[in-house]
């Protein structure tokens, strides 16, 4: 009796619902593979060239840093609108202090440090000043950090940085020469892999990481379980700011300069990567690997559109459409998944 009714129930589950676990696991991978195939078909000469691939890695690294920090924040059902400005603040602190003769080991640390500081202020504001939503506090920080970046630089770019400072953003490992092509591996690619690995361990395997998921899932439950929610949130925003500072260091290295309007709009690109990567705005959902996929997809879109000479205007329209589509897919997934 029970067996037969179970059987019936299984038969009733439509195919698209039964596919959900499969797509949850491999959906992003499939999208990436399809995108690569399409781009390769459109630009067979250029797309799969080593130069283009390492370019994608270099260009997405900064967004990769912002996105993984943003992911941590979004996991707690929060948002950090300030990361683009904080990137600029870190970058300008670095460039200005370098120009005024600060030794490079300190210059190197200044961008991540400023990022951390800004993130800490965000965290304290959200928890201790009891801002009604992280949106408000980080919107404030978006303006303040941008203003500060302009203030300390007088609103002008600084260029020329010492090699050790540029290392992370621009150094490459020479792999060898095959068929007349020189193969160089950007350091920043290895660094990105390393950072994502660290975040994976942090989120999946540390007590802190599991508590971040718990706070995103049900902050009240976390609180009554004796978890110090405020302290955890402050750490989360501090890490997010820190990653924005690291992104500033990478971008300074890649461009050999600091410019005060750097990172404008990048907070939105990071949010897009996180959402495309499968995280939920309601918190508590998403995986590090998915975010990596989201960052790659954003990079591939940009790269593909550039290779095919699509104007930046069309790029904006397309990326906007893709974000809406990604969230709509998530909505459908949830609808089908919770069908009772």
């Amino acid at each position: 009796m029970t067996e037969s009714s179970n059987h019936e129930m299984n038969n009733e589950v439509p195919w698209h619902v039964r596919m959900i676990p499969f797509f949850d696991r491999y959906g992003i991978l499939i999208v990436i593979v399809v995108m690569c195939l399409v781009l390769w078909a459109m630009q067979p000469e250029v797309f799969l060239s080593w130069r283009n691939i390492s370019n994608i890695f270099k260009q997405t690294a900064a967004n990769g840093m912002l996105s993984i920090g943003m992911f941590l924040v979004i996991l707690t059902a929060g948002i950090d609108l300030s990361v683009g400005s904080v990137l600029a603040l870190g970058m300008m602190t670095l460039a200005v202090s370098n120009a005024s003769g600060v030794p490079w080991p300190i210059v190197l640390c200044l961008s991540p440090f400023m990022g951390m500081l800004a993130g800490f202020v965000n965290g304290v504001g959200i928890t201790k000043l009891r801002m009604p939503h992280p949106f408000i506090m980080t919107l404030g920080m978006l303006f303040m950090a941008r203003g500060l970046a302009n203030l300390i630089s007088g609103g002008v770019p600084y260029s020329g940085l010492p090699d050790p400072v540029r290392f992370l953003g621009s150094a490459q490992i020479y792999l060898g020469e095959f068929d007349g092509t020189r193969y160089n591996l950007p350091i920043v690619f290895l660094f990105t892999i390393f950072v994502y690995l660290v975040f994976w361990i942090l989120l999946e395997h540390t007590v802190f990481g599991r508590r971040v998921y718990a706070i995103g899932g049900n902050p009240e439950a976390a609180r009554v379980s004796g978890i110090n929610v405020d302290q955890t949130l402050i750490i989360v925003y501090t890490i997010c700011g820190f990653m924005a500072g690291v992104a500033g260091l990478i971008m300074a290295g890649r461009t050999n300069s600091g410019f005060p309007n750097a990172g404008q709009g990048m907070e939105l690109e990071a949010i897009a990567a996180v959402i495309i990567g499968g995280a939920s705005f309601f918190g508590g959902r998403g995986q590090v690997l998915g975010i990596f996929g989201g960052v790659l997809i954003m990079g591939l879109i940009r790269n593909g559109l550039n290779l095919n000479d699509v104007s930046t205007f069309w790029q904006q329209i397309l990326i906007g459409g893709i974000i809406v589509l990604a969230v709509f897919i998530d909505v459908l997934r949830r609808d089908w998944g919770t069908r009772s």
Binding site: R211, A221, G226
Partner: protein
């Protein structure tokens, strides 16, 4: 009110003259409560009578505005639910306070995760393996059946969630378990299982405070029942010295026999 067959001379948990204000609202006024070792105390009262607030004071979520708490004869002050949990006072919240996005094992050990130190104690990792095993043993021990302790809580039925919440409350040497309307959100067929679990707690020597609107619950599991009315003590009795209609009367704020009234209410 001491249980008749008890030879303990002090209650395990006691609230003396507890008041609680939320701004201009007085949720509790001079409330006394005693919970004796090994007893199940039912707390009844109309909506807004202050039952949940009193339980939150007992479990350390709210500090009392006035009055004191005593545990094992000593005055205690709770700054957070963690302080109460350290003494073995656990609460099962009305909304269950589980994180739906996490699995059963992680919910049971939330806030008290089994840890594994690596790199000379520098980093404390969540010990997934141990957590799963402990959760499995714990649920087996309580005869709670689930497909797997790795199942996400949001996939469970209301009764299963309630069972997980109760299992969670006694995962660590609990001495007092406080339950806020544990049967209110359940399908009828799941209510019995939860009530049997509560009887099971009593058999383990755990003292229980249970809030319920259902007289069936109160008369099935409780040794004693007390009523709050408009945030103050109204009446209390050993279970065998009272009746359903009397208790229903207390909920409505009358000490007369209200058999007819009660009947109206049920209709």
């Amino acid at each position: 009110m001491r249980p008749q067959n008890s030879n303990d001379d002090s209650p395990l948990l006691e609230a003396r003259g507890v008041s609680k204000y939320f701004g201009a609202v007085t949720a509790l006024r001079d409330v006394d409560l005693q919970l004796w070792p090994g007893e199940v105390l039912g707390v009844v009262g109309d909506n807004g009578a202050g039952k949940s607030t009193l339980m939150k004071v007992l479990s350390g979520l709210y500090p009392p505005s006035k009055g004191s708490l005593h545990f094992d004869g000593n005055e205690v002050q709770f700054h957070s639910p963690r302080d109460a949990r350290d003494l073995g006072i656990e609460m099962v919240y009305q909304d269950l306070a589980l994180a739906g996005n996490m699995n059963i094992a992680e919910n049971i050990y939330l806030g008290r995760e089994p840890k594994r130190k690596v790199l000379g104690g520098l980093i404390s990792l969540f010990d997934h393996k141990k957590g799963l095993q402990m959760a499995k043993d714990h649920l087996d021990n309580l005869k709670i059946q689930v497909k797997s302790v790795e199942q996400k809580v949001e996939e469970l039925s209301g009764g299963q969630r309630q069972a997980v919440a109760i299992a969670r409350s006694i995962a660590f040497q609990a001495r007092v378990v406080i339950m806020d309307e544990p049967t209110a959100a359940l399908a009828i067929k799941e209510v019995g299982k939860v009530l049997d679990m509560i009887v099971g707690l009593k058999d383990r020597g755990i003292s229980v405070v249970i809030i319920s609107h259902r007289m069936d619950d109160i008369f099935y599991v409780c040794d004693r029942v007390m009523a709050l009315y408009h945030g103050a003590n109204f009446s209390e009795s050993h279970l065998k010295d009272t009746s359903r209609s009397e208790v229903i009367g207390w909920i409505m704020g009358t000490k007369e026999n209200v058999r007819e009234l009660a009947h109206d209410r049920v209709k």
